[in-house]
Amino acid sequence: MSVENPVPPDPADALAAVAALRRLADQIEDAAVEQAMRTGWSWPQVAEALGVTRQAVHKKHAKRLIAAGVELRRR
């Protein structure tokens, strides 16, 4: 049993928190993948770290990173 007994949040706040956390997770993913690729990580490494397929991470980020001039390792 927890010592504290917090008041459960209003459902509106809880649902808005979910939406905001998803947005923040997307922003952090964009920043973290870019930083990793700039420091020489490969697509398979980034994919494995994120727990998604290489195709998924490539599809989501390749175009943006190429446009930003990031040198991408093929393997």
Partner: protein, 162 residues
């Protein structure tokens, strides 16, 4: 393409610019709100301005809503010190669920499609009871019902003038 289609396209394209700047994969209702606040034609922008809402203050209200909602989960966006990610080369072309709903509701407020004006789309956005836009406006101290009434009054005035 009709004038109404051009107006809708202009607002959606401006919304896509806002979505791209936001790093969002889809255009959402709050991007359309920012687009309407910057749209030069029709009375929607004037009504927003008279309520103290220009593009910049809406952007500030949205940022505040984001931080407020994160705080409910004990999180701050500033806690993660990564550099800002680069933006993609293309504007997102996809409408998100909130934007689709706002447009549907907005279209439904006009009697005929050819009567549709930015203020109708604004009404569609303001009708949402939950989500980012009503929360951001509430946090900014905006009376959404009062604003809706003013938008309807502006539309009636435009009808009389035309």
């Amino acid at each position: 393409m009709s004038a109404v289609d051009r107006m809708i396209q202009a607002i959606i394209e401006r919304g896509a610019d806002e979505a791209l700047a936001d790093g969002s994969a889809a255009i959402e209702a709050h991007h359309l709100l920012l687009a309407i606040a910057a749209h030069p034609e029709g009375g929607a922008r004037q009504v927003l301005t008279s309520a103290g809402l220009d593009r910049r203050s809406i952007r500030a209200a949205l940022d505040r809503e984001f931080e407020h909602s994160l705080a409910a989960a004990g999180v701050s966006s500033a806690a993660f010190g990564l550099p800002r990610p680069s933006r993609g080369p293309d504007r997102p072309g996809q409408l998100g669920a909130s934007a689709r709903l706002a447009l549907e509701r907005g279209f439904a407020t006009a009697a005929r499609k050819k009567d549709l004006r930015p203020a109708h789309l604004l009404l569609g956005i303001l009708q949402a009871q939950a989500g980012t836009v009503p929360r951001a406006l509430a946090l900014a101290g905006v009376d959404r019902d009062g604003l809706t009434t003013r938008v309807r009054a502006a539309l009636t005035g435009e009808d009389r003038a035309s």
